[in-house]
Subunit: 113 residues, 2 copies
Amino acid sequence: MTPAPPPYTTVTFTSQHSETENADEYEQTAQQMVEMVQQQPEFSGVEGARGADGFGVTVSYWETQQHAHAWKMATEHIAAPRRGAQDWYADYTVRVATVERQCGNHRRPDDLD
Amino acid sequence: MTPAPPPYTTVTFTSQHSETENADEYEQTAQQMVEMVQQQPEFSGVEGARGADGFGVTVSYWETQQHAHAWKMATEHIAAPRRGAQDWYADYTVRVATVERQCGNHRRPDDLD
């Protein structure tokens, strides 16, 4: 799922759905974006969740910020002409970050201590 | 919600619930952690989502990695003696990252271009 070991890049998209009547259209475009991102050679993984309250977090993983930037530019060509972000989301934020440390129950658990 | 402007630190916890019968106990401890983290003076915000499939993403925001580390150590005192992570999650990962850029519909949208 993620390039290992750190450092690597994440693009985190947090959003609150502003309305429910466009849910089908949103899901279609979201699925199209996921399919497209998976075709990017630099793509490492994407995962996310959306709760019943409409708030969602999607994280994509990249080897470098340059790769993540290329993906951002590509997705804009899909999403921007179709719908403005304000149509779907009451609020959204995109954050580009560098992961410096990680741990989990499928890795050595002490690298954060 | 987040310290502005970047750089700042995120701690992202992704997890897959391994079973549903402990959901109440999980939610109690998760709520206890949220209440505790909100009392940390260095705390800036926390948000997250969990979908119907049991996969969830929680992101907390901190001014520095040192602050995030203090929180991690504190939460372990709540969670670790009570339940092993393997009891709740089939899989989880904690990532500490530095946010370097952000944009959104409530900020200048061009700082990622």
